[in-house]
């Protein structure tokens, strides 16, 4: 196909998809109207179908042509009033339009698709009635002329469509979406909440429409139903916007020339003017470019009438969907990304929110449920609200379930507010419950919705009243690339705080500090309009030296005063009297006032005052104390390097005007780092989230560990199943005999080791109370000296076997926020007492002539390497596979060499049960012993394992037993 053809085809696809997007909503409106046929609407759909047919015929896309033709026939009958549209007919048409959409999206293969089902259905309707009189050509010519004048009227008569039921104040004055056809006479309007009706584009568009038939058809109708692009690789921009961009680019070039000239001439005065000009041009350019990315949220909203219709039909609900604010514009990437979460929420509302009609009637509600989907601007963000008048979410039941699932404790649940309980549904791990939907009303995948929104920098809140309904509000940023920030300074460095988090700036003059700032326990709080606001010092959270900015000398100085309240000057009673009334919330005024006083007062006042940035993150609000407040600036976020990823206090960095870097603060993580005990309890939400995370981690491959310490700084873990028992002893119980440490234990001497004898870790803490962890190895007991706190827990953490690996330490994992080293007790004992293992079978070298090859199947790198290490150490050869599928492949290739299989149970693709079943049912492999390596030791698992044919079960990392059994099978296998 030539390039030219390609372009035409592309044009056909885009245009057809636009038509189809319109058709869907129009068909719904036709269904709503029933016998009261709206000619204009039917005409429009008819023409859309017709132009798809025409285009497809031209392109040789016969299947599409055929289907469009059949649909057109039926529409023709409706138009000529030979057929009254009922839901069944509309259904067939909708299905046909869905099919058309799929065909067009996959245009290359469309000619091979079987559409007979649709054709039959359509033709049955068509043939059941009289033959429509009109031909397609007639429809075409007649309509393009009459279309534009009618469109306004049509739009206002349309509201019976479910897309815009009664409460919608003004559905039609939609700004033209960027994706619309080119001849828009003016640039895109700013995303203003309530744009006034815009009559002017109407005639202009009709006149300049590029293609006679299809364009007006698409354009003249309600503009709300604009295209939604499925394959959004390109974006349509109005020519006027492009013109504006061109203009600005020209301006920029001119300004650059001016700037260069100024630099050469060294004229400082004109430099200022040039600077201003460049400033202006850049910000306009930025705005215009952002506009090209903005799209109306209607692109997403428009598909919901259909979703609601189909779903409510299926579920036997009666639902009105009201959509408000389709004109609200958002960045293209955000629009695309909210599609799925929104669909999910809408489906939830229909499925679980709105009750069946009979239930509603019994409760005295209108049998028709109402779902309102609303978008509007608030505080520089876009808010999307989905509210229903359904049965609401019962927070108490959610709490019960959360307790049952171990996500929260009973105490936590008691302390929660109703809102917090409702929001439990967002906890990860909550949704995995099978029955949640039945009990609570909602819940499937709500955490996924939240995660998706979090990734966009958005937030989600749920408000619900049982029996009355639920409102879910989503807040989204307008764009992701450039964000306005408040610049502050602390410790001589600048930091940026995103404006979305900023509530207000507060300055407490020195004289008021003592009065306003109070201490509650360790925390400092400030009284702000009757509420207590917790305070965090940025320098403390970041762990840098406390400083303050001396306005007189313009220096940042070290602040030695410990409490904020101590900041008040002690030296000048005079200053205290005069300054009492002074309180400002702006540094400039403060300084001016201060400047008006005597030199002495000035010295004390401004530098002793507190600069507080009041920030909010979700429900939590706190004050961040900084040295200085600077301007607000628009900044570009740049990511930090990987070495700095662990610093959780920053969201990124930005480059300031002077070329230096400022860090962008992540205020929610700062609060967490400060251990902020919030006054309104939002901190509990964090705790809950942590708890939920633990719950999630439980569903992964688990390992029971005994956690202990050897020195206060380091935490260790050892697989619980290796531990015989734990004894509490006193240091004086330890005897130093013959260069060895021993203690009396069960009538004998128990040799003692400590980890630091083998591994380079901190020495054993010098304290009186010690713990001895007793292991039984190589037929002997050995005690490992340790200190508390000691804890046994199931851990699913990823084990890192590289970073901290050293003799005696097999790897590390993050457990409860601490890096925990997993000790290898065999290695420790082997290092300290090498002779113990000499005559023990596990260290026996396999010296038979035949080589023993073991296939180790394990998805976790760590465990695989560990087991491989054990095996190779003992002289066996090892083949590896990451999952069952791969294992079978390896078996196939090496069937003659492999002596036995060691397999994990929990694995992706094919698990250990299935693998073993396959092995045991294959005559080629049946003879191979299969040993399960597992962390699952539940009875039913063992039983199931036996059933599928596992020869033996071993706990991962229980080296001794595993080796013994491997050895047994190896010798047996070789002997045989």
């Amino acid at each position: 196909m030539s390039i030219e053809d390609d372009e035409i085809l592309q044009g056909f696809i885009e245009e057809s998809l636009e038509h189809l997007a319109d058709i869907e909503n129009d068909l719904l409106a036709i269904e709503e109207a029933g016998a009261d046929i709206d000619d204009e609407l039917v005409n429009k759909v008819f023409r859309a179908a017709h132009s798809i047919k025409g285009g497809a015929g031209f392109m040789g896309l016969t299947v599409i042509q055929e289907l469009a033709h059949a649909a057109e026939n039926v529409l023709g009958m409706i138009r000529s009033r030979k057929l009254v549209p009922d839901p069944d007919i509309i259904n067939v048409l909708l299905l046909a339009s869905d099919e058309l959409q799929q065909l067009i999206e996959n245009v290359e293969e469309s000619n091979e698709v079987d559409i007979s089902e649709h054709l039959q259905a359509l033709n049955a309707i068509y043939e059941g009635k009289e033959i429509p009189a009109r031909t397609a050509a007639e429809g075409d010519t007649g309509d393009s002329a009459s279309a534009p004048p009618e469109s306004d009227q049509e739009a206002s008569t349309a509201p019976e469509s479910p897309a815009e039921a009664e409460p919608d104040p003004e559905p039609e004055p939609e700004p033209e979406p960027v994706a619309a056809a080119a001849p828009e006479p003016e640039p895109e309007p700013e995303p203003v909440p309530e744009p006034a009706a815009r009559p002017e584009p109407e005639p202009a568009r009709a006149e300049t429409a590029p293609e006679p038939a299809p364009a007006p058809a698409a354009e003249k109708k309600k503009k709300i139903k604009k295209s939604k692009h499925k394959t959004d690789t390109s974006i349509r921009v109005t020519v006027s916007l492009l013109d504006q961009l061109m203009n600005l680019a020209g301006e920029l070039v001119l300004s650059r020339n001016q700037l260069l000239q100024t630099i050469t001439s060294g004229d400082v005065r004109s430099a200022e003017a040039v600077g201003q000009r460049i400033d202006l041009v850049t910000s306009e350019l930025q705005e215009a470019i952002m506009l090209t990315r903005m799209q109306p949220i209607g692109n997403v909203f428009n598909k919901f009438p259909r979703v609601v219709r189909d779903l409510s039909k299926k579920l036997g609900r009666q639902i009105d969907l009201t959509i408000v604010g389709k004109e609200v514009e958002l960045d293209k990437t955000i629009i695309e990304a909210i599609n799925d979460p929104l669909t999910h929420l809408i489906r939830n509302s229909v499925d679980h929110g709105i009750e069946p009609p009979d239930v509603r009637v019994r409760q005295g509600k209108d049998p028709k449920g109402l779902i309102v989907l609303k978008a509007y601007h608030a505080a520089g963000q876009v808010v999307i609200e989905i509210s229903d008048d359904g049965k609401g979410i019962d927070g108490n039941r959610l709490a019960d379930i959360a307790i049952k699932k171990g996500l929260i404790t009973v105490e936590q649940a008691k302390a929660m507010s109703d809102k917090e309980r409702t929001n439990l549904i967002l906890l990860p791990g909550f949704s995995t419950a099978e029955k949640v939907t039945d009990v609570s009303g909602r819940g499937v995948g709500m955490d996924v919705v939240k995660t998706n929104l979090d990734q966009l920098g958005g937030s989600l809140e749920i408000e619900s009243e049982v029996g009355k309904g639920t409102t879910i509000s989503i807040k989204l940023p307008l764009t992701l690339a450039i964000i306005p920030c408040q610049i502050v300074m602390t410790g001589g460095e600048r930091y940026a705080i995103p404006q979305v988090n900023l509530e207000e700036l507060l300055r407490i003059p020195a004289a008021k500090v003592k009065e306003r700032v109070e201490r509650v326990g360790d925390a400092e709080v400030v009284r702000l309009r009757g509420n207590l606001l917790p305070l965090i010092r940025l320098s403390d959270v970041l762990g840098i030296e406390r400083t303050y900015f001396d306005v007189i000398t313009e220096e940042t100085r070290e602040d030695k005063r410990r409490n904020i309240a101590d900041r008040r000057s002690k030296s000048s009673p005079l200053f205290r009297d005069k300054d009492v009334e002074q309180e400002q919330t702006g540094q400039e005024q403060e300084e001016e006032k201060a400047a008006a006083r005597t030199g002495r007062e000035r010295r004390q006042s401004p530098s002793s005052a507190l600069n507080i940035v009041v920030v909010s993150t979700g429900a939590m609000k706190y004050g961040l104390i900084v040295d200085r407040l600077h301007d607000s600036e628009e900044i570009v976020i740049k990511p930090l390097g990987r070495h700095l990823q662990q610093c959780r206090g920053y969201a990124g960095a930005t480059i300031m005007g002077d070329g230096r870097i400022a860090l962008i603060l992540d205020v929610s993580n700062l609060a967490r780092m400060a251990g902020l005990t919030s006054l309104d309890g939002s901190d509990r939400a964090n705790e809950l989230a942590d708890a939920a995370r633990d719950a999630i981690s439980k569903t992964r491959d688990k390992q029971a560990l005994l956690i202990f310490s050897s020195s206060p700084e380091e935490q260790f873990g050892v697989p619980l199943n290796q531990v015989e028992r734990v004894e509490k002893i006193r240091r004086s119980d330890i005897e130093d005999v013959g260069g060895r440490r021993v203690m009396q234990y069960r009538g004998g001497s128990l040799p003692l080791v400590s980890i630091d004898e083998v591994a380079a870790v901190q020495p054993l803490a010098d304290q009186e109370d010690l713990l001895v962890i007793v292991f039984h190895l190589a037929g002997k007991d050995i005690g490992l000296l340790a200190i508390g706190p000691i804890d046994a827990m199931e851990v699913a953490a990823d084990i890192d076997d590289i970073t901290l690996k050293q003799p005696g330490i097999m790897g590390s994992a993050i457990i409860n926020g601490h890096t925990t080293m997993l000790i290898d007790i065999f290695e420790i004992v082997q290092t300290v007492n090498p002779d113990w293992f000499v005559d023990h079978p596990m260290s026996m070298q396999v010296d038979e002539e035949a080589e023993v090859v073991i296939l180790v199947v394990e998805d976790s790198n760590f465990f695989r390497n560990q087991v491989k290490g054990y095996m190779e150490e003992a002289g066996y050869s090892v083949l590896e596979a990451e999952d069952g599928v791969e294992a079978l492949r390896v078996l196939e290739d090496h069937v003659d060499e492999i002596t036995m299989v060691l397999s994990d149970i929990e694995m992706p693709k094919m698990d250990g049960f299935e693998l073993t079943e396959k092995i045991k049912n294959d005559p080629r492999y049946r003879h191979l012993p299969v040993i399960a390596l597992t962390t699952l030791a539940a009875e039913e698992d063992v039983a199931r394992g036996k059933a599928v044919g596992f020869d033996e079960y071993h706990i991962k990392l229980d080296k001794e037993r595993l080796m013994a059994s491997v050895h047994r099978y190896a010798t047996a296998g070789v002997a045989a």
Binding site: A653, A689, T803, T819
Partner: protein, 164 residues
């Protein structure tokens, strides 16, 4: 000309050499993107101690690692004649702060000897080997090892949030 001939031989590489503490270290010059003396760094509180700060390198944010600290020596004093050696790391550039830079030395890889366990107080694991010139000993740094993170980034619940 002579150099070019040498370079044609595959076992010969050029080493950019520099001082870390008292140790003379070298790195394959092809790994080095540039060497600069920009010292206008922004300190990142709470960063690992071996991170000196971040730097604006023509609009890109570059993490500067104090090579002295990283290798377990004292902090590199900014008083001498410090330089940042900017190297390419996966997905970003990273700067290595060194006390002083020295010559570019041609080294024959075949004559590189295994690194001793400890060289001028630096852990042997950071070296690929040592190269002897007439009068000096150059430790050839393993760039990947040096750029590796000391602790995994999977610390704390912040990263854990993505589990869901």
């Amino acid at each position: 000309m002579e150099n070019e001939e040498k370079l044609a031989d595959k076992s010969i590489i050029e080493l950019a050499t520099f001082y870390v503490g008292d140790a003379l270290c070298g790195m394959d010059i092809l790994k080095v993107q540039e060497i600069n003396k920009l010292m206008e760094m922004t300190v990142v509180p709470q960063a690992p101690d071996y991170v000196k700060g971040i730097l604006n390198l023509r609009g890109q944010i570059v993490t500067i690692i104090d090579l002295g600290r990283k290798l377990g020596l004292d902090e590199t004093a900014l008083g001498d004649d410090p330089r940042n050696i900017i190297v390419n790391a996966p997905g970003e550039h990273i700067g290595l702060l060194v006390r002083q830079i020295s010559d570019v030395v041609m080294a024959d890889l075949e004559k590189v000897e295994p690194a001793p366990a400890n060289m001028s107080g630096i852990q042997g694991s950071y070296f690929l080997g040592v190269y002897k010139t007439e009068n000096r000993l150059i430790g050839i740094l393993d760039a990947e090892q040096v750029l590796r993170m000391e602790t995994d980034s999977r610390t704390g619940p912040a990263a854990g949030g993505s589990v869901a």
